[in-house]
Amino acid sequence: MQDFTAAFRAALDLVFRMDADLMEIVGLSLLVSGAAVTLACVIGFPLGAALGAGRFAGRMPLLVLVNAAMGLPPVVVGLTLYLLLSRAGPLGPLDLLYTPTAMILAQTVLVTPIVAAITAQIVADLSEEYRDLFATMGMRRTAQAATLMWDGRFALTTAVLAGAGRALAEVGAVVIVGGNIDHVTRVMTTAIALETSRGALELALGLGLILLTLSLGINAALMGVRAAARRLSDG
């Protein structure tokens, strides 16, 4: 217990004096996860809108696939990407293995289904409500999709924040394709795993505290956005 208390104090000390190593790790984590979530939104929003409001052959199987992919095991994604990016793999010449780019790719694969599936659900609900209105206005599909995305914009932040939560907390995929290389590909989750196994609890706890704070911050932001949505759009 004394060890834990001492480690906790040391961790707080690292956080409050903004230890350079710690900040570097936090910075890279935010960069990788931020980029992955941005890419996932670029892919997931239109994909989700098409799945939610579109009527095309193969829509249902694709929807099932996207929903199932929300639960993709990160280590499997990591392993698959590893095989693709390794020197012998088809993407080997790109020389991306053990780089932040590879980690961004891995997290994008994990987050995109979450963004797409939540978007599809939100858009489908709104589409059902607006269907007759759109029909009487003679709106084209693209105009309908734009209207649905705009009206669902506050609800869609749920998709973004859920994706961000997944990206920040993920460890299995990034450790395989990133390698947890100090000053290169070390992010919060991989560093926590490594430092804990080495017995360096101060840094692990410090990073854990920051990760928890970010998680709480994301949830607080989610609640704030929902409240704003009710106030600004639903009345």
Partner: protein
């Protein structure tokens, strides 16, 4: 208050309307779940300012209105319009029983609709303000539409429909959930629209409202036309037993 003729294209400028019934329905059948919702409907509608479609629940009133609006296809039969040159969709506007409003301000709901109706970006806001003025909603322009009262929401959907400059306005029980004051406001808007030449087909359960607004009544019972008469005749000497019982407030089973 702006002149309504700036808001609504005059239907009577179309010579075809004076020569043909605006809506000609012939031998219409509609099935759902193996049962006929509408059977052998043949009627000319829109010959007067306001045609009311009346009848008990399940008579097929709303389904008929939806078919006229193009929301669905009949199993057989035809619905033809007086505009032989392939009527544009926007010449017919529909107001639903329950207001369907976007999650935006009242003004933004109108500018969005006007964009769909082809009004140029530079004119949209001014025209939307005219419509708000027409509906007595100017001071509600920036309020989220879904935060308006029920009566205000329905007035907003009505002026949104009028923004399409329709020749034919279809109203599905637009005042069924409203108090008398809000009902009066909606009826006043309908009368102002008809004064400018817009033809209205109104589904209503409200006998008083039909008396106040309608010039002819199409009475449906069990998916069939039980009676189609001029309003005074319908209310004074209904020819069908179903309509007579309905008007007396009796249950016709």
């Amino acid at each position: 208050m702006v002149e309504p003729d700036r808001l609504i294209r005059l239907a009577h400028t179309r010579p075809t309307l004076t020569q043909h019934p605006p809506v000609r329905i012939a031998d219409l059948y509609l099935q759902r779940g193996g049962q006929y919702i509408l059977r052998d409907i043949t009627a000319n509608l829109g010959l007067s300012d306001v045609t009311a479609i009346m009848g008990p629940n399940g008579a097929g009133k709303t389904q008929l209105l939806r078919l006229i609006a193009g929301l669905g296809q009949p199993d057989s039969g035809t619905i033809k319009f007086a505009w032989p040159d392939a009527p544009e969709k926007h010449r017919i506007a529909l107001v639903f029983q329950r207001p369907v409003l976007l999650r935006r301000s009242a003004l933004a709901n109108l500018t969005h609709a006007l964009a769909q109706y082809g009004v140029t970006r530079t004119r949209r806001t001014a025209r939307a303000m005219e419509l708000l003025d027409f509906g007595g909603l100017t001071d509600r322009a920036n309020i989220p539409a879904r935060a308006l009262s029920g009566g205000e929401q329905q007035r907003l959907t009505l002026v949104r429909a009028l923004g399409a400059a329709p020749d034919l306005l279809l109203l599905d029980e637009p005042t069924s959930n409203l108090d008398p004051r809000s009902t009066a406001a909606i009826e006043a808007l309908i009368q102002r629209a008809t004064a400018q030449g817009v033809r209205v087909i109104l589904v209503t359960h409200d006998i008083g409202q039909a008396r106040r607004l309608a010039k002819d009544i199409l009475f449906l019972q069990d998916g069939q036309v039980a009676e189609h008469s001029p309003a005074p005749q319908f209310f004074d000497t209904p020819t069908s037993a179903q309509a007579a019982a309905y008007l007396r407030g009796e249950l016709y089973l």
